[in-house]
Symmetry: none
Subunit: 248 residues, 2 copies
DNA sequence: GAAAATCTTGCAATGTTTTGCAATATTTTT
DNA sequence: AAAAATATTGCAAAACATTGCAAGATTTTC
């Protein structure tokens, strides 16, 4: 049995039971306890579980990692969010996907601006709550705990009946020829529905972190109307995107 | 059982009851009192709880940040929420309306209990988020900023297709002859839909505050299966409710 | 493609942590 | 102040972890 396979077995057990006993795994996959120990040590170092005397337990119990996931890039994020907010006009129907950049946008939306915001993101809804002039419509469904957005048929159904003026689509990866991609299949489905549900698609993203390709495709670059980054719109790095996209 | 697990059990008990008896834990997890003592000592050193003679208490417990009256009502609320949580069984589909008592229930749901929670309440969804075994379905729609729950056709539509095992219905007023009443018409509609969407309706409420009548009617007392209050179930004040309702 | 370097795994010797018990001290209750 | 409950301490057995090592597998280098 390959090491990778054992790792998957261990992580799966942790996922199901929130813990594993070292001896149980050793017996289950028929290797020495030493090997399992080394496996657990590796997974611990990779921050996939917490190694403890006698086995390992799930990280899950105290994970509030969403809030402080990427503090260092906050400044760039604010810059992007400011540009994004400047696109908003009174009376618009705005669709906000999840993600920390969109959360920052939500934070910066002026409280006196009368708009309607649709979102499947729990933190974004909470962020918008105190702004008196913003009408919030939460797109309900099953909550994905990693991304803290709703996924599945529910949200997709709601989105199919919506045509928002503008959509801020938080993305993990964008590439001139491979388009917008994502690593979670269910999130891809929601984001596809969001694109269909909007007249205009805006991607606000830290350029440094997004010029990459992930497993599943959301859409072509051509489906994106506006790309907002921390860079100047004339920056040569953005040249490959310039033909079909408005840069901000 | 791993040491880390015991620690989680202890912290969870402290979270729920604001205190633990050393002997109770020893019996619960079936180890010697000495071991529990050592566990509590460790958790104390890690500043997770306060070690005291005979067991441990919650850190926040003696902070007089609240007015006395609020602490008083918080205690009642916790008492009610504890009773409510004890009704839950693994695998159930649970419907939680909004309100502070239900928020307290959400707080006390053990993180290792595998249940599915439907809720239209933003704070309750956020409260449930870190509990790894709970599947959260947010009932989407337009958010009412006062109550922080979704209202209108969206939620009512979703609820019409649901049959939950149990519904915790937060209420403002209940009266033996006038039934359950509410002052906001839109919230009434959602709560009516919740009652229809559940096999069993539980009303958890501070008795002192609810024995009153408001503008709009949600349902008769007969539609409520279980009434949970801070009072003993044999308290004469509850007598008028006793005929059709199980008191807890 | 062969040799060298690296990685993986199980074993054994040694070190550490965990746990329950018993004897003794301290605190709380009556 | 005595009785009861809880804490502390030291100890020993068991469980678990660490380290170094060697045999075999895999990858890299030439």
């Amino acid at each position: 049995m390959l090491k990778e396979e054992r790792h998957q077995v261990i992580l799966n057990e942790v996922r199901i039971h929130n813990k594993v006993l070292l001896t149980d795994i050793a017996e289950l996959v028929k290797v020495s306890p030493d090997t399992v120990r080394r496996d657990i040590k590796e997974l611990h170092d990779a921050n996939k579980l917490k190694r403890v005397h006698g086995g390992a337990i799930s990280l899950g119990f105290n994970h509030y990692n969403y809030a402080n996931r990427e503090i260092y890039s906050l400044e760039k994020k604010s810059k992007i969010a400011e540009k994004a907010v400047s696109l908003l006009k009174e009376g618009q129907v705005v669709l906000l996907s999840g993600g920390t950049t969109n959360l920052e946008i939500a934070r910066l939306i002026p409280p006196y601006l009368k708009i309607t915001c649709f979102t499947p993101s729990l933190p974004i809804a909470v962020q918008l709550l105190p702004k008196p002039n913003i009408e919030i419509i939460f797109i309900g469904g099953k909550i994905n705990k990693d991304s803290q957005i709703t996924i599945g048929g529910g949200p997709i159904g709601v989105l199919s009946e919506l045509k928002a003026d503008i959509c801020f689509l938080g993305v993990n990866s964008i590439h001139p020829s491979d388009g917008v991609t994502e690593f979670d299949w269910e999130i891809v489905q929601v984001k596809k529905a969001m694109i269909n549900a909007s007249k205009k698609v805006v991607v606000p993203s830290i350029f440094e972190k997004i010029n990459s390709v992930q497993r599943y495709k959301i859409c072509d670059v051509a489906s994106v109307d506006i790309l907002i980054t921390e860079l100047d719109k004339n920056d040569p790095l953005l040249k490959p995107y310039g033909k079909n996209i408005t840069l901000v």
